[in-house]
Symmetry: C2
Subunit: 126 residues, 2 copies
């Protein structure tokens, strides 16, 4: 009953390529910078965590120091600091020191828009 489909090894067909539409395809390898692609993915990845995203949502309103964030979210301070560190390493947020407090804010409006768009889309989606 079983048909061992031992057709061949990999080599995803390179000769005929009669694939989808019968050969009307022009496969352009996409001229997007690899680095830009990776960078964008890194940013998305930084945003891809509920905990970090919540941090960013708060920071959309204004700057907060770590203590405030930790208190508002009712989470241990080191955890918050660590998340902020990740976000900062991707240049999603910026930090400035004021006395013995460190205030964090979104890096720029671009990030803000990204966050807003994502959340809005998530809300619309059923």
């Amino acid at each position: 009953m079983d048909r061992m489909n031992s057709d061949a090894k990999s080599t995803p067909t390179e000769d005929d390529s009669p694939s989808c539409l019968g050969g009307d395809h022009e496969h352009h390898p996409v001229k997007i910078d690899d680095s830009a692609c990776e960078r964008a993915a890194a940013i998305f990845r930084a945003l891809g965590d509920p905990q970090r995203l919540r941090l960013l949502i708060m920071l959309e309103a204004r700057s907060y120091c770590v203590s405030e964030l930790a208190q508002s979210l009712a989470e241990p301070l080191p955890a918050i600091s660590q998340r902020l560190r990740i976000l900062k390493s991707e240049r999603v947020v910026r930090s400035r020191r004021e006395g013995k407090h460190v205030f964090y804010s979104l890096a720029d409006g671009h990030i803000s828009r990204l966050v807003t768009n994502g959340v809005m889309h998530a809300m619309e989606d059923t």
Copy 2:
């Protein structure tokens, strides 16, 4: 020794207060839906992989079938299928069958905008 830091910056709160959370931080802990937050994070997370992002960038132009994507990116078909599966599970892409081919496309314009914004930001890279 006693006085050295003459920052002279207007502290956000009275410097008399021991900390920034002296008690006037009674503002609401962000009224963003938890579900929306998680959902948004899930979407960002789906976009947060260079391989998947590349797929999405291609799909921004038009629909592609799995074979075509695998060929264009020179990667094994199961790998592509797997990535598409993840993207589909987050409703980032949609699939439609046509004969023995399965065509994938971006779920909606919102996603497209999200991808574009992210890549553009990555290119600018402040």
